[in-house]
């Protein structure tokens, strides 16, 4: 059906619709002040409650040590990652290379044959490293705005996902985050709030982790020394 006739048909029925609450002004929902006490503790507790792991660290150096320890735990040397400018650890990819880790090709080619070959190669990576646009304390979620240099596959294909986040990127709730980043959807072709590792309970409501996405989710939450 063409667009004009479709919308005209809807318009006719909209005119007849009786929906009392629809009258009146649109409310502006104000979630209140975004800064809050105890955001780090709340975020960590909520993330652990959904089977994620939160590593609260002081400063860049401890963040790097924590990340390296996670990488060393995994025998495979292949990993996926966002580009350096989008990660809070400077030169992360170069430093991992020096330690003998190989960054997998991130590109999913447009050409069909090349695409499948690339996907199979990508599937070998065992750890994916990303930054994040923000974190939600209320739910222990990380917000990822995928785009150039910030591929989707790094947080999706490998069985382990490590997200790096600065403590000053935390918000109390999703409403606060949206208030601070109103155009996040326009800016990313793919945006996601991730709350814990992939899970299912489809068989007899028995919880099982790691269905299609990562089985392990680590968030390295970086505080500047002296920050609470």
């Amino acid at each position: 059906m063409d667009r004009e006739s479709f919308l005209a048909q809807v318009r006719r029925q909209v005119g007849r619709a009786v929906l009392p609450e629809a009258a009146g002004e649109r409310e502006v929902f104000d979630p209140g002040p975004a800064a809050g006490e105890g955001l780090v503790a709340r975020f960590a507790a909520e993330l652990e409650a959904v089977s994620g792991r939160c590593h609260v660290v002081d400063g860049i150096d401890s963040a790097w040590e924590t990340l390296l320890a996670l990488c060393e735990e995994i025998a495979v040397r292949e990993y996926l990652a966002w580009d350096d400018p989008f990660l809070p650890l400077p030169d992360l990819n170069r430093r991992l290379h020096e330690r003998g880790f190989n960054r997998g090709e991130n590109e999913l080619p447009v050409d069909e044959a090349a695409r499948q070959a690339a996907q199979e190669q990508l599937a070998g990576a065992q750890i994916g490293i990303t930054g994040a646009l923000g974190g939600l304390a209320e739910t222990g979620s990380v917000a990822l705005h995928c785009g150039p240099g910030r591929g989707r596959l790094a947080s999706l294909l490998p069985p382990v996902h490590v997200a790096l986040l600065r403590a000053d990127q935390l918000f109390p709730t999703m409403a606060h985050f949206i208030q601070a980043h109103p155009a996040a959807l326009q800016e990313a072709s793919s945006f996601v709030f991730i709350t814990g590792p992939s899970r299912t309970a489809d068989i007899e409501q028995t919880l099982t982790l790691g269905v299609h996405g990562p089985k392990n989710l680590h968030v390295i939450l970086i505080q500047q020394t002296g920050e609470g």
Binding site: F29, G147, Q186, F193, A201, T206, G210, V211
Partner: protein
């Protein structure tokens, strides 16, 4: 599902074979308990529900405007929009596109709207293999069955049944360990994800201001479906719209809590068009099919409120009828309280005229609905419409006619009462209950007993009381429950 009789026979069947759907009742009650706990732990829940309801009402009253805005934004993002009047148009768009692009295999993320339009049949007929990637839907597809719950499609199966199915269809050694079954499904589906040409998803919400489509999953299959295949196609009911990102945030706050008791689903994914310049992954093509299929006439009628529905499944979980008969007995794609309204609303009475009668009108569904849809009220409206359309069964019409004749004539009413007092006492056992009524009333006593009428009618008792006696009547049958039954 071609006649009214089949609905009743499906119910008979369900009641006669409780083992087939017992897991559904158990699962539903477990979900309901989790929802209650989540609501109790979230002080803003009631205010959020009110807010969500106002957002739904506001949007639907300007649906033409927001649909237009949404379509413009999708096109601005580099995507394509197709407006489908009905299931046939929607299916044709998808299969034509698949044919034009040489698609052999399409991977799907769980979508009720594709069940509604039976897209998988259309794809198979067009030579495209559809593969369901949600674990529950994957199991359903292997078993060639229908979902029994809108968010937990395979709730009717035990782990042993899934184990036997996997052993038979996938040729693996039998296991009933969910962890192992999940591992098998994951590895098979991973290969499918990496080789599928087209990804097909539904749409939990569509954001008008940015032309975005929000998809909520726990498994992550919607993220893969919208990332690895070169074409992503979205099927959405036209009522799925919210105006802004902030409105979407409100919906996210109530959806998972109402559905599974989670604060938020694991992946709340929001896609806005195909991959952009400089991006390393994502689909090259992005299509949205916006489906009417009976929704616009619902919007202009007495049942408009049902379009508020956000498909959380809370009304199914809370419903005593759903808990007792399971999802399949309804025969419709959408089961439970919401299904009893949505199905006849979208598809007409056809074989569905009896669905609105499968309710005790207890109001549990209204109590839990995140957007406070007054489902019992809508069921009454549907019963009224059904009656006006001549869809009331003959026995009920005749019976009500007799009752009306009696109720309008006090002498007739008193006579009937007396006759019934005598007749029911005659039929009742010593405990005052009737185990078997004669036809045409036998249906009542198939599954429950009927009490004999009290010796003294309420009217007589009331009359005595008004005269200043004030004592309780002495009727001795049919008061309270039956002991030991």
């Amino acid at each position: 599902m071609n006649s009214n009789v089949t609905f009743y026979s499906r119910i008979e069947d369900a009641i006669a074979h409780p083992d087939r759907h017992r897991p559904v009742g158990v699962g539903a009650m477990r979900f309901a308990a989790k929802r209650l706990a989540a609501a109790a732990a979230y002080p803003e829940f009631e205010a959020m529900r009110d807010r969500a309801r106002r957002i739904r009402a506001h949007t639907l009253c300007r649906l033409d405007h927001y649909l237009g805005q949404f379509a413009n934004q999708v096109e601005k993002n580099g995507g394509h929009v197709f407006f489908a009047a009905d299931a046939a148009e929607a299916n044709r768009y998808v299969t034509d596109l698949a044919r034009a692009r040489g698609v052999k295999k399409a991977i799907k993320s769980k979508s009720m709207v594709t069940e509604e339009i039976e897209l998988n049949h259309a794809l198979e007929a067009a030579g495209v293999e559809p593969i369901e990637s949600d674990l529950g839907e994957f199991i359903i597809q292997l078993a060639r069955e229908k979902p029994s719950h809108i968010i937990a499609p395979v709730m009717h199966k035990t782990r042993q049944q899934v184990g036997e199915l996997f052993a038979e269809k996938l040729g693996i050694p039998y296991s009933d360990d969910p962890e192992e079954l999940n591992r098998v499904a994951r590895s098979r589906l991973r290969t499918e994800f990496l080789t599928a040409d087209m990804g097909i998803t539904g749409c939990n919400f569509a954001v008008a201001e940015s032309g975005s489509v929000a998809l909520v999953t726990n498994e992550g299959n919607a993220r893969l479906t919208t990332t690895t295949p070169r074409i992503h196609i979205v099927l959405m009911g036209m009522e799925r719209i919210v105006p802004t990102f902030a409105d979407l945030g409100v919906m996210f706050q109530i959806l998972a809590r109402s559905a599974t008791g989670q604060k938020l689903s694991v992946y709340s994914t929001i896609v806005s068009g195909p991959r952009r310049a400089g991006e390393a992954d994502g689909p090259e093509e992005f299509h949205v099919v916006i489906l009417n299929n009976g929704r616009s006439s619902t919007l202009g009628g007495e049942l408009a409120e049902i379009l508020y529905c956000i498909r959380c499944g809370a009304c199914l979980n809370s419903c005593p009828v759903y808990q007792a008969i399971g999802g399949h007995a309804y025969g419709s794609v959408y089961p439970g309280p919401v299904g009893k309204v949505v199905t006849p609303a979208l598809m007409g009475f056809g074989p569905w005229a009896d669905l609105p009668h499968a309710s005790t009108l207890c109001g549990a569904c209204r109590e839990v609905c995140p957007v406070r849809i007054d489902i019992p009220h809508l069921l009454l409206k549907l019963r009224e419409q059904g009656h006006e359309a001549g869809r009331t069964p003959a026995w009920l019409r005749v019976g009500l006619g007799i009752y009306r004749a009696a109720a309008e004539r006090p002498w007739f009413f008193r006579l009937g009462l007396k006759a019934n007092q005598v007749a029911t006492r005659f039929l009742a056992g010593r405990d005052g209950w009737i185990d078997r009524l004669p036809p045409p009333l036998a249906g009542w006593t198939d599954h429950r007993a009927f009490p004999a009428l009290a010796r003294e009618s309420f009217r007589t008792w009331w009359g005595r009381r008004e005269e200043g006696n004030g004592e309780r009547g002495t009727g001795n049958g049919g008061e309270g429950g039956r002991d030991g039954s």
